[in-house]
C-alpha cells in the first residue's frame, strides 16, 4: 500500500480547510444533491464528497458509505487531490497503491473515479468521487460530467470560504460596534454622574451657606452671651496664645484686644501670682485637662483684684483639640471673707490647741493625782486601822465596852474611806483608760459574777435567777454575744448586781433576776436587765442616782460610797451603750443596759 504523499503546502491547505469550517458539520442538501447526482450520472452505487484532514478523510456528503470518515492513509481521494485532473482506477486490485488497503477487496470497492476539489486560491481540500463494487470504466461523457460536478463543488467551497470570511468580518464589525456602543454607554453614565455631582455640589454649597449663616448667628449669639454679664471669657489656640477676650475682660483690664492677645494678658498678673498661674496654665495645656486657679489681675484702676479662672480644653466636632476656653470671675470679696475666716479659724485653732494642751496637762495631773491617792491616801488609813486593831489585840482587856465600840467605829470609818478611795479610783480609771471593745459572751460573764458573789457569801438568802429570752438559762443555753470592754462591763455588772442584793436585803425573800435578750425594737442591741424586789426609788430621782456622790438612803441603812451608779453610767457611755432604770418606791427596781452586738 502506498499512501498519498503529503503536499508541500500542507500547512496552508489545512488552514484553508479550517477557514471552510465544514469538518464535522451536519449534512446539507446542497452537497447531498450533488453527490446523488454524481452517483446517478456515473451509475455508481457509491459516491462522496471527501475532505482530507491532517490524519483522516471526512465525508461532507456520502451515498453508499456507512462511515463518516476513514484514515487518510487508506484514502484514494488523497491521491486524487494531488492531481490536476480526474483519477480513474478501473480495478483497484490491480493498482499497487491500494494493495493491502482494507477498504479495497473482491467484496468491497473495486472501481474508483474522482476529481480534485480545490479552491480558487489554489489549496486542494479533497475530492468528489464515485465507487463501484466491480471493475468497470466510465464513459467519456460521464467523466466529463463528473469533472463538471467537481468544479461545481469546488466553487461551493470557495463560496463557503467567502461566506465564512464575511461572517468573520461581520463578527469583527459587530465587536467593534459593541465596543463603540459600550463607549457611548460609558460616556452617558459619566454624563449622568457629572450631573449628579453638579447637583450635589450645588446642594453642598447651599448647605455651606446655611451653615455659614448659622455660624454667624451663633458667633453673634456667643458674643452677645459672652459680652453680657460679668464673666471674663477668653479663648486660646493650639500655641497657648490667647486669641479672644470678651468685652467684660477688656472693660475689666482697661486694655485693648491687641494688648491682651497672645501672652499679653500675663502683664496684668500680680508678680507673686505670675509664675504659679502660668505654670498651672502650661501644665493644663500640656495635659489637655481642665484647670481652676486663682490669682490677682490688675484692673482698669490699677488695683489688683482676686480672679478665679476655670479653663477647659475645647474640641471641634471631630474631637480634634483646638485650644482652651476660660471663664474668670472677680472673687475679691469672697477672698477677703476667706482671709478673715482663715485668720479667725487659725486663731480658733490656736485657742483649741492651747485648751487641749491645758486639758492634757490637767489629765496628766489627774493621773498623777489618782496614783498618789492610791498610794498615799491609803498609807495613813492602814496606820489608823493597824493601830486600832493593835489596840484591840494588845490592850482589849483593859478597855471597857464603850472604848471598844469607839475603836470599832474608827475601824468602820477606815473601811468606808477605803471603799470610797477604791470607787473613786475606779471612776477616774474609766475616764483615763482606753476602751478595748471585743466580742464577748455576756451570759458567761454574768454567770461568773453570780458564782463569785455566791462564793463570797453575798446575798446568800436571795433567790437569784438568770433568764435568756424569757426562759431560765441552763447549760444548753447558747452564748449571748455583745461587743464591749471586758473590764468595764464587769465593773458595771458587779455594781448593778451588788446594788440589787443590797437594796433587797430586807425583802422576804430577796429576789434578784438578771434577764438577757435581744432588744424587741429595731436597734439590734442586747438588753440586760437586773430586777430586784428591794426598796426601789421614786422616779423623780432617776437622773440623780446616776450622779457621783448622790445617795438616796442613809449610809447606816445601806452602806455605799455614792459612786457605784456613776461608775455604771460612765462605763456604759465609754462603751457606746446606755443605762436607765425603772422603779416604784417599795416595789423594787429594774436597771436596764443596752449593749451593741
Amino acid at each position: 500500500m502506498i499512501p498519498a504523499p503529503i503536499p508541500a503546502d500542507e500547512a496552508q491547505r489545512l488552514q484553508a480547510l479550517a477557514r471552510c469550517a465544514l469538518l464535522d458539520t451536519a449534512a446539507e442538501p446542497l452537497y447531498d444533491e450533488l453527490t446523488a447526482l454524481a452517483a446517478a450520472l456515473c451509475e455508481a452505487p457509491v459516491a462522496a464528497i471527501t475532505l482530507v484532514d491532517r490524519h483522516r478523510q471526512w465525508f461532507k456528503s456520502r451515498v453508499g458509505v456507512p462511515v463518516s470518515e476513514t484514515p487518510r492513509e487508506h484514502s484514494a481521494c488523497a491521491h486524487t487531490m494531488l492531481g490536476d485532473g480526474p483519477m480513474v482506477c478501473e480495478d483497484l486490485l490491480q493498482d499497487v497503491r491500494f494493495h493491502g488497503n482494507p477498504m479495497i477487496g473482491p467484496d468491497q470497492h473495486r472501481f474508483y473515479a474522482g476529481v480534485p476539489l480545490r479552491l480558487a486560491s489554489g489549496e486542494r481540500l479533497g475530492a468528489l468521487c464515485v465507487l463501484d463494487h466491480r471493475p468497470r470504466r466510465l464513459e467519456p461523457a460521464q467523466l466529463e460530467r463528473l469533472e463538471l460536478l467537481g468544479r461545481h463543488v469546488s466553487r461551493l467551497l470557495d463560496q463557503r470560504v467567502a461566506e465564512m470570511r464575511q461572517a468573520e468580518l461581520l463578527r469583527e464589525s459587530l465587536r467593534r460596534t459593541q465596543i463603540q456602543v459600550d463607549r457611548v454607554d460609558e460616556s452617558r453614565r459619566l454624563l449622568e454622574t457629572a450631573e449628579e455631582a453638579r447637583l450635589a455640589l450645588t446642594e453642598l454649597l447651599a448647605a455651606q451657606q446655611r451653615l455659614e449663616e448659622e455660624l454667624r448667628e451663633r458667633e453673634q449669639h456667643f458674643r452677645t452671651l459672652a459680652d453680657q454679664g460679668s464673666a471674663l471669657i477668653w479663648t486660646a489656640g493650639l500655641d497657648m496664645g490667647c486669641d479672644y477676650f470678651n468685652q467684660p475682660w477688656l472693660d475689666f483690664t482697661g486694655r485693648t484686644l491687641a494688648q491682651e492677645r497672645g501672652s499679653g494678658w500675663t502683664q496684668g498678673l500680680h508678680d507673686e501670682d505670675l509664675e504659679r498661674v502660668v505654670r498651672v496654665y502650661r501644665t493644663a495645656f500640656a495635659e489637655r485637662r481642665r484647670f481652676s486657679t486663682e490669682g490677682r489681675l490688675r484692673a482698669r484702676d490699677g488695683q489688683h483684684r482676686w480672679i478665679r479662672c476655670d479653663g477647659s480644653p475645647r474640641h471641634d466636632s471631630q474631637g480634634q483639640f483646638l485650644g482652651f476656653i476660660g471663664y474668670c470671675c472677680d472673687i475679691s470679696e469672697a477672698k477677703e471673707t476667706e482671709f478673715r475666716m482663715r485668720r479667725f479659724s487659725a486663731e480658733l485653732e490656736r485657742r483649741v490647741a492651747a485648751r487641749t494642751a491645758d486639758l492634757a496637762a490637767v489629765n496628766r495631773e489627774l493621773a498623777t493625782f489618782t496614783y498618789t491617792v492610791s498610794h498615799d491616801l491609803k498609807a495613813p488609813l492602814r496606820g489608823i486601822d493597824g493601830y486600832s486593831r493593835l489596840l484591840e489585840l494588845g490592850h482589849g482587856e483593859r478597855l471597857d465596852e464603850s472604848a471598844r465600840e469607839l475603836v470599832a467605829s474608827i475601824r468602820l470609818g477606815v473601811l468606808q474611806m477605803n471603799l470610797l478611795i477604791h470607787d473613786l479610783l475606779a471612776y477616774c480609771h474609766l475616764e483615763q483608760r482606753q476602751v478595748r471593745a471585743h466580742p464577748l459572751d455576756l451570759l458567761g460573764l454574768v454567770r461568773c459574777l453570780l458564782e463569785a458573789r455566791r462564793l463570797e457569801g453575798l446575798g446568800s438568802r436571795a433567790e437569784i435567777r438568770l433568764e435568756v429570752d424569757g426562759r431560765e438559762a441552763d447549760e444548753r443555753t447558747p452564748p449571748v454575744w455583745v461587743v464591749a470592754d471586758a473590764d468595764g462591763l464587769q465593773m458595771v455588772l458587779r455594781n448593778l448586781i451588788d446594788n440589787a442584793l443590797k437594796f433587797s436585803e430586807l425583802s422576804m425573800p430577796p429576789r434578784v433576776c438578771v434577764r438577757l435578750g435581744l432588744d424587741p425594737g429595731q436597734s439590734g442591741c442586747v438588753i440586760l436587765s437586773v430586777h430586784d424586789n428591794g426598796i426601789g426609788f421614786d422616779m423623780k430621782y432617776h437622773d440623780r442616782i446616776f450622779e457621783i456622790f448622790q445617795r438616796l438612803e442613809r449610809a447606816e441603812a445601806y452602806p455605799g460610797t455614792g459612786v457605784g451608779l456613776a461608775i455604771v453610767r460612765k462605763a456604759m457611755q465609754r462603751m457606746g451603750g446606755r443605762v436607765w432604770a425603772q422603779s416604784t418606791p417599795g416595789e423594787g427596781a429594774v436597771f436596764h443596759l443596752e449593749l451593741p452586738r
Partner: protein, 151 residues
C-alpha cells in the same frame, strides 16, 4: 549548806513610810518570825546593799520592795538588782499599795517574783505577813547566801 541557815538569814524590807514600816515590823513580830529584818528607807539605801553583798555580806532570804520610794523609784531598784551579778538571784516580792495594772505588768516584766497589794484592813495585813513568812521563809528554797559559783 545546813538546814538551819535560812532561819538566820535576813529579810530586806525596802519601805519609806514610817507607819507602814512600824506596822510591818509589828506584824512580823506577831507571826513570830525569827529572821532578822533589815530595812532600807529609800531606793538609794536599797542600792547601797549591792556594795555590801559584793563585799561578802550574805544575801537576804527575800527582798520586800515598795514601789513608790523617794530618791530612786522601786521599779528602778528592781531593775538594778536584776542587773547585778549577786542580787539577780534573790527572790523579790513587791509589797505595795498600788493595784494598778501598769505597775503589776512592769514589776513582773522587770523580774519580780511576786506582787502583793498591802491591804488597809490590818487583820488582812496580818494574814499577808503570815503567808509571806510561811512561803518565802519556810517553804521556798532560796539560792545560796553567797551566790557562789555553782560549778
Amino acid at each position: 549548806m545546813t538546814s538551819t541557815e535560812p532561819l538566820r538569814r535576813a529579810i530586806l524590807l525596802v519601805e519609806d513610810n514610817p507607819v507602814d514600816l512600824d506596822l510591818t515590823r509589828r506584824a512580823f513580830a506577831r507571826s513570830q518570825l525569827t529572821n532578822p529584818l533589815e530595812v532600807a528607807r529609800d531606793g538609794a539605801e536599797a542600792l547601797d546593799w549591792l556594795a555590801r553583798w559584793d563585799a561578802g555580806q550574805p544575801l537576804p532570804l527575800v527582798v520586800l520592795l515598795d514601789l513608790k520610794l523617794p530618791k530612786v523609784d522601786g521599779l528602778e531598784v528592781l531593775r538594778r538588782y536584776r542587773a547585778h551579778a549577786l542580787a539577780r538571784s534573790v527572790p523579790i516580792v513587791v509589797l505595795t499599795s498600788s493595784s494598778e495594772d501598769r505597775d503589776i505588768a512592769r514589776a513582773y516584766a522587770d523580774g519580780a517574783n511576786s506582787y502583793i497589794v498591802k491591804p488597809v484592813d490590818f487583820d488582812k495585813f496580818l494574814e499577808v505577813t503570815a503567808q509571806i513568812k510561811l512561803y518565802w521563809c519556810l517553804l521556798n528554797q532560796p539560792p545560796s547566801a553567797h551566790a557562789s559559783d555553782p560549778a
